[in-house]
Amino acid sequence: MGRFHRHSDGTPHRHDGLDGEHDEHDEHDEHDGHGGHGHGGHGHGAGSEVGDHSGYRTGPERVELLEGILSENDRTAAANRADFAANGVSVVNLMSSPGAGKTTLLRRTLATLGAGINVGVVEGDIETSLDADRLEGLGAEVTLVNTSAGFGAECHLDAVMVRSALAGLSLSALDLVVIENVGNLVCPAEFDVGEHARAMVFSVTEGEEKPLKYPVMFRSADLVVVNKVDLLPYLDFDLDLFLSNLADVNPGATVIRTSARTGEGLDGWCSWLRDLATGSGAVSSADGAR
C-alpha cells in the first residue's frame, strides 16, 4: 500500500489513502543549506546518489533503509516465541500503570490456579526484588529482571531482557509464563517480547479517560482486567464511560472485572489464563506488538 515519490526538496514521501495534507518535514530542509534544490528525484533503493545542485558542497548520499524502528527487538521477540512454541508454553504479557494491582492479582492468581497448571513468572521492575519476593512460595517459578542492572533502567521490558530471564525458568516443565512488565502505560506497549497475548490491569482509581490518553497501550491489549471494583461504591468512577472510551480505541478487547483484594472476578481471569495455556481460548492476537 502507499506509493513513494520525492518532493522538490528531495524528501521521499508516502501517500496512504488520503491525498492532501502533507507533513511538517519541509521546515527541516531549511537547515541543511541546500534545501529547495531539487535532488533529482528518483533515487530509490540502497546506495542511490541524491544529487545536489547547489554547487558549493558535495551532496549527501541517501541510503533508503525502510526498516522497522524496533526490528531488532522484534527479531529477538520472534526467537523467544519460537522457544515458547518448542516448549509448548503459552505466554501472557501483563501490563499496567504502577499500583494498578498486577502483583496482588498475580498472588491470588497463583493460589487460584492451583497445582493443575505449571506457571512461571518473569518479574520486571526497575529496582528491587520486592515484587518477586511477594510471589515466592506460591508454587510458581519466579525469575527477576531489574532493568537497572545492565539495561539502562529502562521503563519497560524488551525482548532481549525477557530472553535473558528465560534462562531462569525451566520452560519445558511449564504450561504458562506470565511476564509482569514494568508499571508504565506508555513504553511497554511498544515492545513485543514474544508473548502470545497481552493483558492489561486497569484499576478503577485511575480515571475513565485513560484509554484516550494511552491509546497505544489500550489498543494493544487483548484483555483488560478492570481491577479494584470493590472500591466502586466509594468512587465517582463511571464504569460505563470507561468501557465506552475503551471501545473507542479497542472495540475488540475482552473485559473482566476483578478485585484482587476480595477475589471477585478471579475465576473469569483464571479461566482466561487456563484457556490461553491450553490453547483453547478466544485470545485473538498471536502477533505481538502492533
Binding site: M1, G17, E24, H25, H28, R62, G68, I69
Partner: protein, 113 residues
C-alpha cells in the same frame, strides 16, 4: 523516556547499516497513532548519539496521518483522535489504512569532497 528508548532503537538500526560511514541525517516515518512526540525524539536523539559515531547527525521525523476505512460504508477518513470511528457514518467497524508506521526511512551519508 519513551522517546529515549525509541531513539536507542533507531541508533542501533542506523549504526548497523552505517558501517562507520559519516551519517548526516536520519529520516523516520512515524504514524499519528504511535504516541510519539517528534520534538522529544529530536531532543533525545542528541542525547543518545552524543559521543557516538552518529554524533551531530540530524533526525527528521515524517508524520503520517491516521486514516481509517469503514467496513460498513466504505468511506475513508482521517482520524485526528485515536478513536476508531467512521467520520462519514459513525460506524465503529473501522480498519486502519495508515497511522501506525514506525520506520527508519533513510540515512544520509556525507560524501567526501
Amino acid at each position: 523516556m519513551h522517546e529515549l528508548s525509541l531513539c536507542r532503537a533507531v541508533a542501533d538500526v542506523v549504526t548497523s547499516h552505517a558501517e562507520q560511514r559519516d551519517v548526516t541525517r536520519v529520516t523516520l516515518r512515524v504514524g499519528h497513532l504511535r504516541q510519539v512526540v517528534p520534538e522529544t525524539l529530536v531532543f533525545c536523539w542528541k542525547m543518545v548519539t552524543d559521543g557516538t559515531e552518529l554524533a551531530g547527525s540530524e533526525l527528521v521525523v515524517e508524520h503520517v496521518p491516521a486514516v481509517g476505512e469503514c467496513r460498513s460504508c466504505g468511506a475513508r477518513s482521517e482520524l485526528d483522535k485515536p478513536v476508531l470511528r467512521c467520520a462519514a457514518c459513525g460506524g465503529r467497524d473501522v480498519s486502519l489504512v495508515s497511522g501506525e508506521e514506525f520506520l527508519v526511512v533513510s540515512m544520509d551519508l556525507a560524501t567526501s569532497a
